[in-house]
């Protein structure tokens, strides 16, 4: 009985190590390859480590192309869009959870009805609106249109529904305005759900390809993902700088994820399962 248990545990650890290898190795290989020289990249047999690792590929990526500009564009879009997304959807979700007003059900149903409509389905008419509002080839065209998120409104509403309204009542008796109740009482309570929105929004904005593809045509305004896709479509792919750019492009999301990780594992799944 005891040996059987030991064998079982060894088997479990073997499985975990194997799985870790399968998930981690491809990424590590890319990271290590980004430090290789051109001849090492295409050497046979391929080796994990470079004999003379250097930052040359990174230097090349930042100096020859406009990678700095792409990095700036992407950061600008991801940060500004995330702030706007979190603010306006938190405000809306909070109101849907805590206030009864004329048309509240109708408005909420209207928002819910679009929950199932992904960008892929409306990309043609979206383009039409973008052109009409002069947001084509404009970074604000990436930021504003997708800032209203039915999913986010829904998550925030669910969160505030689980919080008692009695604090609001006592604040009202104390003479606090509705705005003040929101900013100094209810908003701090909403930190966990806002953390979840922050990471979801930032990740999506940073990694998104389809939306920039539709809205940005001017090379100067490319995001990193657009630029990477564009370079990879060229006749001869410059793997040296492409790998370096790919590695740099992964870092911000990983950093944001590490900061908010505590919230996302709990928060995202409870929201998702409830939804």
């Amino acid at each position: 009985m005891k040996t059987k248990k030991v064998v079982g545990r060894i088997f479990l650890y073997l499985l975990v190590v194997l799985a870790c290898f399968a998930f981690l190795m491809p990424i590590l290989w890319i990271v290590f390859s980004s430090f290789k020289t051109q001849s090492e990249l295409f050497a046979w047999p391929p080796k994990l480590f470079s004999m003379s690792p250097s930052f040359d590929n990174y230097r090349l990526a930042f100096s020859s192309g406009d990678f700095g500009a792409y990095f700036f564009n992407t950061s600008f879009v991801a940060i500004v869009a995330t702030v706007i997304t979190v603010v306006i959807n938190t405000m809306a979700g909070y109101v849907f959870a805590k206030y009864r007003f004329k048309g509240d059900r109708f408005l909420f149903m209207m928002v819910l009805a679009t929950l199932m409509i992904p960008l892929e389905v409306i990309m043609i008419p979206i383009f039409k609106v973008i052109v009409a509002t002069h947001l084509y080839n404009n970074l604000w065209g990436l930021i504003i249109p997708a800032a209203a998120s039915p999913t986010a409104v829904f998550l925030v509403r669910q969160y505030y529904l689980s919080i008692s309204s009695s604090i609001m009542e006592s604040a009202r008796i104390d003479g606090a305005s509705e705005w003040r109740i929101f900013t100094s009482v209810m908003l701090p309570i909403g930190k966990p759900v806002m953390a979840v929105l922050t990471i979801i929004s930032f990740m999506w904005r940073w990694n998104d390809y389809l939306w920039p593809k539709i809205i940005i045509n001017n090379k100067q305004k490319f995001t990193i993902q657009l630029a990477l896709a564009n370079f990879s479509g060229e006749y001869s792919v410059d793997w040296n700088s492409l790998l370096a750019m790919s590695v740099v492009s992964m870092l911000p999301v990983i950093v944001v994820f590490l900061i908010f990780q505590k919230h996302i594992v709990g928060g995202m799944t409870t929201g998702a399962v409830k939804g």
């Binding site: 998930f23 046979w44 992904p118 990309m123 509705e178």
Partner: protein, 291 residues
């Protein structure tokens, strides 16, 4: 009695979201249907042509081939994501040490953009210098044309999708598994049920809500596959990995047939709806049979 401030406050709070929502989401959703009945190149005024786009679309073999290809791709990827996601979750709900580290490792690919995932695997799967083929040859196999042979490319894209998405659904499965009361397992063990029986008769039935959610969300995500393929194969070889969204994007923004592309998006929308409803129906049917 509410003050004017209390009356007005909710509307003011909703205003920014509703404004953007109406202009950039609600209006386009309605307008898409309108556009699908028009001939429009994106620049000149649209011309109403009734059902013509739909009639043409119905006979468009390239489009329906792509729909079929997308469904085949879904049929391979979704079960793969489900099985791998659940397996990883089960592994991480055992009593092994360092679970949070493993969880982060399995989740890592989900943090990487589809474009970079595509580029990375294109590098790893390269015929001439790719490490995957190198590993195959040292194990006595022959190099495989992963991405340049039409017969392999679709399966390769499916495998990569599974690799990059399983971690996301693993997290959902973990929280689903944690809601299952351990008393059930204890009782079953006393009755002499082995691990497999416990999994089959306790875990799977009690995990049904999570399973349904994973199936619906992963199906929707997989059907929309496009950026990954852009970076990995460009839709090739010979269109073998060109899925619906890719065709719509090309038709609308490269061939400038916006009306026709809108009709295609209606088919995509319909497909997403039907698959979602089917999964709901299927899972509910299973539940009533059991009770």
């Amino acid at each position: 009695m509410k003050t004017w401030e209390q009356r007005l406050f909710p509307y003011l709070m909703l205003l920014p979201m509703l404004l953007i929502f109406t202009v950039f989401l609600f209006y386009p959703a309605v307008n898409g249907l309108w556009t699908s009945f028009h001939k429009w190149d994106g620049v000149n005024p649209a011309k109403f042509i009734g059902w013509e786009n739909y009639v043409n679309l119905f006979q468009d073999t390239a489009f329906w081939k792509s729909v079929g290809r997308t469904l085949l791709f879904t049929l391979i990827s979704v079960p793969g994501i489900y099985i791998l996601g659940l397996a990883l979750a089960l592994l991480l709900t055992t009593s092994i040490k360092g679970r949070s580290v493993y969880r982060a490792v399995f989740y890592l690919p989900c943090l990487i953009s589809s474009i970079v995932v595509g580029l990375a695997w294109r590098f790893l799967l390269s015929e001439d210098f790719g490490v995957v083929n190198y590993l195959l040859t040292i194990m006595g196999g022959k190099p495989v044309r992963w991405l340049t042979d039409p017969r392999n490319a679709l399966v390769a894209v499916a495998m990569i999708s599974i690799w990059s998405m399983a971690g996301y659904y693993m997290v959902m499965f973990i929280s689903g598994l944690q809601t299952i009361d351990t008393e059930y397992y204890d009782a079953a063990s006393i009755d002499g049920a082995n691990g497999w029986q416990r999994f089959l008769h306790i875990t799977l039935p009690l995990l049904r809500p999570t399973s349904l959610l994973v199936l619906v969300l992963s199906t929707v995500a997989i059907i929309k596959t496009y950026p990954l393929v852009v970076a990995l194969t460009g839709g090739g070889p010979a269109g073998a990995t060109k899925f619906i969204v890719h065709i719509i994007q090309e038709t609308g923004f490269e061939k400038y047939k916006m009306g026709y592309a809108s009709a295609m998006t209606m088919v995509l929308f319909f497909l997403l709806m039907i698959l979602t409803l089917l999964q709901f129906k299927f899972s509910r049917g299973g539940k009533t049979n059991e009770n």
